[in-house]
């Protein structure tokens, strides 16, 4: 029965992985940028949440209302000011810039806050759980994060399908050169896409921090790998595939953790490498952004 419990815990964890991966997937689909700083930005968001709480006394949940929109705006600005310039210079430049950011953030945080884990309390939900039967009990918080993940993915999908800007984003993923010929200012489209990406990664980063009991400066260098593995396992270009990928990774890690607490990361990586070796398009891979 502990195995079923593990699997279910893995599914819940997977929801969080998927949320963290959505931004990476969107940024790549629309802009062809792989944000190497993705994980570190998640960490940054968690720290911003911590700072917000410290100076205003509000709870972690309320801090979301400030940090997530704030990060969205930051994403738009970073895209328009930094990444747009890098994009014009070729394929390597955006990678170097995002990698530079990935070095700046954790080391700055380390210097400012030291290596201590900064708390991000979950509040009352931390201990509440739902009892399914004698052996299986699922935490309310993890269930909530899975639900948030599903809602988020559905919301983004509807946004892409139904709104004008969403349509432009899908078009950009297909052919950004022609999108420009249609009279669309691609810089604005890219900016919005990055804004959404930053907002989702901020949410994921804070929830991650809440789940782990807190945040520390170098967390991002691990979470970026989770997000990336989730995208590849699920398959490029598929949002729901990202959810599936997250669940696969989450389950793999949790089951591995049952066997030995030292191997979850390793097993997760091995599963990723196996998918890369035998099903390189991922489990639900397509080419377009859907």
């Amino acid at each position: 029965m502990t195995w079923i419990n593990s699997i279910m815990q893995g599914v819940l964890l997977g929801g969080l992985f998927a949320m963290s991966a959505v931004g990476l997937s969107l940024a790549f689909g629309v802009l062809r940028v792989v944000n190497l700083a993705h994980g570190d930005l998640m960490t940054l968001a968690a720290y911003l949440s911590y700072i917000t709480m410290k100076y205003s006394g509000m709870s972690t949940w309320y801090s979301l209302l400030i940090v997530v929109p704030g990060m969205a705006i930051l994403g738009y600005i970073v895209q328009r000011v930094l990444l747009q310039k890098a994009l014009k210079m070729g394929e390597l430049a955006p990678l170097m810039v995002t990698f530079g950011i990935a070095i700046i953030i954790p080391n700055s945080l380390m210097q400012i806050f030291s290596s201590n884990v900064q708390q991000l309390p979950v509040g009352a939900l931390a201990t509440s759980s739902i009892q399914l039967n004698n052996q299986i009990s699922l935490g309310t918080f993890p269930i909530l994060t899975l639900l948030m993940s599903v809602v988020l993915i559905a919301a983004i999908q509807q946004y892409l399908a139904r709104t004008k800007m969403g349509r432009y984003m899908r078009a950009a993923a297909d052919d950004s050169e022609v999108l420009r010929l249609m009279g669309v200012d691609h810089r604005k489209v890219y900016g919005y896409a990055m804004g959404i990406a930053f907002a989702t990664l901020a949410l994921a980063g804070i929830l991650f921090g809440m789940r782990q009991g807190g945040v520390s400066p170098f967390d991002g260098q691990i979470t970026v790998l989770f997000a990336f593995e989730t995208v590849i396992i699920g398959g490029l270009g598929s949002l729901w595939g990202t959810l599936l990928g997250g669940i696969v990774l989450g389950v793999a890690q949790t089951i591995a953790g049952q066997i030995s607490p030292e191997i979850p990361l390793l097993v997760g990586n091995l599963v990723f490498l196996a998918v890369l070796a035998f099903r390189p398009n991922g489990l639900m891979g397509k080419q377009a952004l859907k």
Partner: protein
């Protein structure tokens, strides 16, 4: 149609020969350095040599083959840990380093098949995942010290001899790295490589076996990087922690060195390594702000000085110490040329 005469292709043979002779003399002098210079200098130079080696190998991957890797630390770590493996068997630390590098070449070959499933930015993170995976595997072994790092068991007792051997080992790795880059780029493969960097699809269409060339570069870069890792281990008579030797900061240093020096030139990584070496010598006491400064400079250089120091010099004054380019002239212009050579690329 007018009669078409075959163009004249200039390969700077004379310049290259002069450059090569100069290099041989230089390296011979460097080899003699331990007998003439103070130990503190040669110890410093060990670091400079492995930095140049790392930068050259990263440049080979990114600047010539167009493959940005943020996971070369996998091979640094493997090179370092390989020293332990062979040293424990009884071989000298230095020979162990050589053997470790060769083993890494063998490991890199199948790894390339995995890594090449990905392109561009995803390739980059993929290399990071591979590095992390290797680290996680290595720390499972008690003989390798688990997660705590360990020392070299059999090392040369006499400190002077030890320093000298370490120095020559570092020099050997450096010569390998630079010679490999230069030789590779002057052969047909070098031309193929640059065509891949510029446009992979077009390269395929003219018959370049893209995967084969990329694979060779990947394996070569892994080997050189492992050699540098072995040097790091030997110089430190061990490793402080696997997290450090397998750390992504090494990738940050490599990127920084190559960007500053000049991506896609042979001289660039050497200059970049020199710059980084100086900065490290004088500023690394500042703690992690130093890394933050590196990151900021990397972004700045990427956006505003993409050619790097040597690249700018090369573009402006068309100088080249180690020419690896070709220049095509119409035969009727050849007489006017004299011995001045023009832009490479």
């Amino acid at each position: 149609m007018s009669n078409v005469t075959l163009p004249h292709v200039e390969r700077f043979r004379r310049k290259a020969a002069i450059g090569a002779t100069f290099a041989v003399i230089l390296f011979s002098l460097l080899a003699l350095a331990p007998f003439a210079l103070d130990q503190s200098i040669t110890t410093d130079w060990v670091k400079l040599f492995y930095l140049i080696s790392l930068a050259s190998m990263w440049n080979l991957l990114a600047g010539y083959a167009g493959m940005v890797s943020v996971g070369q630390q996998a091979f640094i770590g493997l090179g370092a840990y390989g020293v332990f493996v062979f040293n424990d068997m009884g071989y000298s630390a230095y020979l162990s380093g050589l053997m470790a590098s060769l083993v890494v070449a063998v490991i890199a070959f199948p790894l390339s098949f995995l890594a090449f499933r990905l392109r561009g930015g995803y390739f980059a993170i993929g290399t990071w995942v591979i590095a992390e995976t290797i680290r996680l595997i290595v720390i499972r072994f008690s003989s390798l010290g688990y997660g705590k790092g360990r020392n070299i068991s059999n090392y040369t007792a006499d400190p002077t001899l030890r320093n000298n051997y370490t120095y020559w080992m570092a020099l050997a790795v450096l010569v390998f790295a630079l010679a490999a880059s230069f030789t590779l780029l002057r052969t047909r493969m070098g031309l193929a490589l640059q065509s891949i960097r510029d446009n992979e699809v077009a390269a395929t269409s003219v018959g370049v076996n893209v995967n084969r060339v990329k694979r060779i570069v990947y394996v070569l870069a892994a080997t050189g990087t492992a050699g540098a890792g072995a040097v790091i281990c030997v110089q430190g008579i061990g490793i402080a922690s696997p997290g450090e030797i397998f750390g992504v900061s090494y990738s940050a240093f490599m990127i920084f060195m190559v960007l500053i020096g000049g991506l896609g030139t042979i001289e660039g990584p050497v200059i970049g390594a020199l710059v980084y070496f100086m900065m490290d010598k004088y500023f690394s006491q500042q703690g992690l702000w130093y890394l933050v400064a590196l990151g900021l400079m990397a972004i700045f250089v990427t956006l505003f000085f993409p050619k790097g120091i040597w690249g700018e010099i090369n573009a402006r004054w068309k100088v080249s110490l180690f020419p690896v380019g070709y220049q095509v002239f119409d035969r009727k212009d050849v007489k006017k040329l004299g011995s001045k050579s023009n832009k490479e690329e």
